[in-house]
């Protein structure tokens, strides 16, 4: 088992004919992901290395049975591409695109929450279920199948931590990059719930960073609903105070969104927090030793 993507994933890539879209789409296919279609308006009927391209996601779904979409279009077209995928009945949309206007995402998020489509991202590295499927830009060759579910707001930091875990012999059920934007399609809690329900996952690692209070909420949630061990990492202890959100943002919740506040919230709920990526792997090894 694993979460979100696996051998049942049938992938359609919006922007497959673009440079990045074709590079990573083909990369995912080489990994074994069932890449069934691409979508580029006006290029319907063409193909990319044998993968058929359609004008609309609706046509791609009708013709190929695609159930998962990866978005690789430029930021000003990305919200529309996500909505198109949801409208076409896609179950899981993974949006890699970075730099989408936050008001676009507010609309998309609010709309998708009222329907059956799940969104991961935007501005995320995607999802890797080692040995099964890779949807996104995570360099799969570092990771092997195993029992650690890894969820992260960060891209390269995920690889760093995953790599530290791999060096201690851990493999992964799935690695889910939820993205670092203010409005993400899915947050820690939802992915942690998937890992909690996934038989393959025995240990959950969450990798957070400064800003927002998703980590604090995840801490509450873990304490109440998760019985698998959870190890956390928070980046940004020495980061300068955020410039983008001003004061009014901070007071709404009483939280300052600092790494310190997040680490304390997690530890208060019994979640161990590694202070460096290396320490995360050490704690994981310790827990695995104790539980296995």
């Amino acid at each position: 088992m694993s979460v979100l993507v696996d051998s049942g994933t049938k992938l359609v890539v919006s922007g497959l004919t673009g440079r990045e879209g074709s590079f990573h789409g083909m990369n995912n296919r080489r990994y074994g992901t069932d890449l069934v279609a691409g979508v580029t308006p006006g290029k319907g009927g063409q193909d990319v290395e044998g993968v058929p391209v359609f004008d609309t996601v609706h046509e791609a779904v009708a013709e190929t049975g695609a159930n998962t979409s990866m978005i690789f279009v430029p930021p000003r077209f990305a919200a529309d591409a996500i909505l198109e995928a949801a409208d076409a009945g896609i179950e899981l949309v993974v949006c890699i695109t970075e730099g989408i206007p936050v008001h676009d995402m507010l609309r998309v998020y609010t709309h998708l929450r009222r329907g059956p489509t799940r969104l991961i991202g935007p501005n995320c590295p995607g999802i890797l279920s080692p040995g099964k499927a890779n949807v996104g830009i995570i360099p799969a060759h570092f990771f092997s199948e195993g029992n650690v579910g890894l969820v992260s707001r960060s891209g390269t930091l995920t690889y760093q931590i995953g790599n530290e875990l791999a060096q201690r012999g851990f493999g992964n059920s799935s690695i889910v990059g939820i993205g670092g934007d203010p409005v993400q399609g899915s947050s820690f809690i939802e992915i942690i719930d998937l890992f909690q329900a996934d038989p393959q996952t025995e240990l959950i690692v969450m990798c957070g960073e400064i800003g927002g209070e998703d980590e604090e909420r995840a801490a509450e949630h873990v304490a109440e609903h998760v019985d698998k061990p959870v190890v956390a990492y928070i980046a940004g202890f020495t980061a300068p105070p955020g410039k983008t959100m001003g004061h009014a943002g901070a007071i709404i919740s009483g939280s300052k969104g600092t790494a310190q506040a997040k680490a304390e919230a997690l530890e208060a709920k019994g979640v161990r927090v590694g202070r460096t990526p290396t320490e995360v792997a050490e704690i994981a090894a310790e827990i695995a030793g104790a539980t296995v």
Partner: protein, 385 residues
């Protein structure tokens, strides 16, 4: 992107939020001309992106031309909490009857816009929250449905503002929401929202933060960027498309991906070092970007050592190595570099560095090891200097 008061008020006017008459001015002469046009008394206000302007002497009432001259002269060039004043805003003075606080912002946790109103304006919102948390009324707005009349009424009635201004304040809140939504803002704050002696409701200040990712939809707002107020090093980084924040230490840092760079700062700090900057070369960093990044990092004279922490995913370590070799060829590099390359094409990257045999470049395999090494090098350089 934060806007100066007068820029925010320009957006307010476009959406029907009432503001006092005013003119920006960059010189004493312009300030006097503006005041003459507006009529006395006026308020001369420093335009800087920081709070506490009033306490710092950056806001002064002027009753006549000579007072405008004196105040404008004193404020222009003034240093307010580290920022130099390059621009003024000259505004008609208002008679204050009540001061409220109003804001619309993005609540990341709820993933919804939130509207706030308090009858205790004129002080920091943190101060209001500390004095009387119930004095701030907060309402979430469904972004697809938008701000409905009842949101404004609820805020006004629950905040307990004066009954005669419930309606005009509700209307101002609706227009602030319109500005928030249509200008792609993440924060629109008015403090104080004023009721004048004539019971008119006006926005006396404007703190607006717009979403940099949406500037393509707002060409006028895009021109607001106040480059004169920016740190020259940060401006240099921005021009080259790098995400850069200046810090006050002596170890230059480069990494790929914001999370990894933040983590690198943390690990360096834990090793006893002091980072000089945050620099995210981004995903898929190419050789040219690395040359640009090295130049930006070294433009800070405090830097005694530099750490490159790359975990290759999309970014290929060989590209980074090539960029570094090119940078050393183009620039006169005098400080030691520690380079940690891991991930995609890491062996090839390390081979390139080994072959180039750059002076003063140490290659480390782990992040922790690299951090320890760069801290040590920075200390040695400090001891030498």
């Amino acid at each position: 992107m934060d806007l100066l008061e007068y820029q925010g008020k320009q957006l307010f006017r476009a959406h029907g939020v009432p503001v006092p008459d005013g003119r920006p001015a960059a010189t004493v002469e312009e300030a006097v001309e503006a005041a003459d046009e507006l009529g006395y008394p006026v308020v001369v206000k420093a335009q800087v992106l920081i709070g506490g302007r009033g306490k710092a002497g950056g806001i002064k009432v002027a009753g006549d031309r000579s007072e405008v001259e004196a105040h404008a002269g004193a404020i222009l060039g003034m240093d307010i909490r580290g920022l130099t004043v390059h621009e003024l805003y000259v505004e008609r003075a208002s008679e204050i009857a009540e001061e409220y606080y109003a804001a619309i912002l993005l609540d990341r946790t709820a993933k919804k816009p939130m509207a706030m109103l308090s009858r205790m304006g004129g002080m920091d919102v943190e101060e209001i929250a500390a004095t009387d948390p119930n004095a701030i009324v907060r309402i979430h707005v469904d972004p697809l449905l938008g701000f409905s009349d009842f949101h404004g009424r609820r805020l006004a009635f629950e905040a307990g503002i004066a009954g005669d201004v419930v309606r005009p304040v509700s209307v101002v809140l609706a227009k602030l929401y319109e500005a928030f939504a249509e200008e792609d803002a993440v924060l629109v704050e008015v403090n104080p929202l004023l009721v004048t002696a004539d019971r008119e409701v006006v926005a006396l200040d404007a703190k607006v933060t717009v979403d940099g990712n949406a500037l393509y939809r707002h060409p006028d707002t895009a021109t607001f960027r106040d480059v004169s107020a920016e740190d020259p090093q940060e401006r240099m980084a921005k021009e080259r498309g790098l995400t850069f924040v200046k810090l006050d230490g002596d170890i230059g840092i480069l990494g790929n991906g914001a999370g990894l760079v933040m983590s690198t700062l943390d690990v360096v700090a834990q090793a006893g070092g002091h980072p000089a900057n945050f620099l995210d070369a981004g995903g898929g960093s190419k050789a040219e970007a690395i040359v640009d990044a090295v130049e930006v990092i070294l433009s800070n004279r405090n830097v005694r050592a530099v750490l490159f922490n790359i975990f290759g995913g999309i970014t290929r370590c060989d590209e980074v190595a090539r960029g570094l070799v090119t940078a050393f060829g183009q620039l006169d590099v005098k400080v030691p570099f520690v380079v940690r390359l891991d991930g995609t094409n890491d062996e090839e990257g390390r081979r390139i560095l080994a072959e180039a045999n750059l002076p003063n470049v140490t290659v480390e395999k782990t992040m922790d090891g690299a951090a320890a090494r760069v801290v040590e090098l920075a200390r040695s350089a400090e001891a030498v200097s």
